[in-house]
Amino acid sequence: MDDAALLDAVAEGNQDAMAAVFDRYSRIVYCIALRVLREPSLAEDVMQEVLLQVWRRPQSFVAQRGNLAAWLSVVTRNRAIDVLRKRSPLDPLGEMPLPDPRDMALESEQSWLIDKVRGVLDTLPAEQQGPLELAYFQGLSHTEIAERTGSPLGTVKTRIRAGLMTIRKAMNA
């Protein structure tokens, strides 16, 4: 059953369908939350919260026909960063527009794409990899990264941008 059919069933209150969503995506959601929070119990809390949002608002996914894995990944990271910084959510869950399905349509294509991104990350210079990791998985602002690394603010911004551009190029290659 594809994601759209699964979410249709979730919209009808089918808890078995939600269990299937859990089986399909809980691991990646948990792993991202854990990478940010480094605390299994907090990561599990975030995982539950994000997946329950799918239960509460499945129609928003169905309507936008987006890529659920991509949406869950970004939302999980954002929510985990909020927890890390002990702040109220900047954006309620579900506010983020779903990536266009044309970009990552099939599960097999997506898996291949992620492998390609992993490949380029290994080759990314440390001066780009570090700031990107600090900004995305540790939630540091560019100012905080500049202070921590001793690099000028503009350099930090440029390196984060360069790292992301490398990922984008890999995705389009």
Binding site: A19, A63, M104, T158, I160
Partner: protein, 271 residues
Amino acid sequence: MSDRLHIAQPDLTLYAMGALSPDEMKPVDAHLLVCARCKEELRKNTLALAAYAQTTPEVALPGGAKERFMARLSETAQAEGKNAKPSAVAPRIQKASFRQTIFASGVWASALAGAFAVLLAAVGVDDLRQRAEIGPLLHEAQKGEIDSVQLNQLMELLTSPQAQKVALHQSPVAAPPPEGRVVYAARTGKLLMTATNLRPLPAGKIYELWILQPGGKKPLPAGTFAPDSSGYAAMILADAPAGLTVQGFGVTVENAGGAETPTLPIVLSGF
């Protein structure tokens, strides 16, 4: 932060990560309302970040994680009345479908955009922040992408006895003339522009707003915008030129990317 026409790429990257301060995010939010190019760039950044997140090495879930989730799911379903009983489920789904049908409809989205244009024009001159908050709702409503919380806010506004009500009628056969409004706070450099009935533009062209100054001074570009399919456009600028003595405003058609001097004819103007 921007080159006046577009958000600087490194800042757009940080925006996608949520790494800008709230003050830094405001002008980006406003710019994204009207700039398809930056919005597309943001979409690509978001996709790349999603892929980056998914490169995280996999580890096993904690033991019993699924059982705990299913127990919480069951509690949530009962608390929200969303369970397998048709009497409890059907009205909820029906309501959601009804709302989504309404807002996915281009006709209703256009009507809503028009209603908001009137409401925007009716609110106080100084409350540009409120307008900036309404802007994203308008944009999402136009696209048919709106969530239940925002939808409730819209519905509250539209059903409020204090809100101005506007009757809508069938459009006349002859195309109505373009109209626009500009609210500009010289002290803070904040500017709001709304326009309706704008003609669609050929590829590679865009509308541009100009600040007209007295004494024959050169008009200042104040941002480019494109109308939606109904001819409606809105632009909110938090960083328009401040401290100016303004004679009026004008709108011209320019090449995509905007111009530094206006190209005649002026399609809209006000003094």
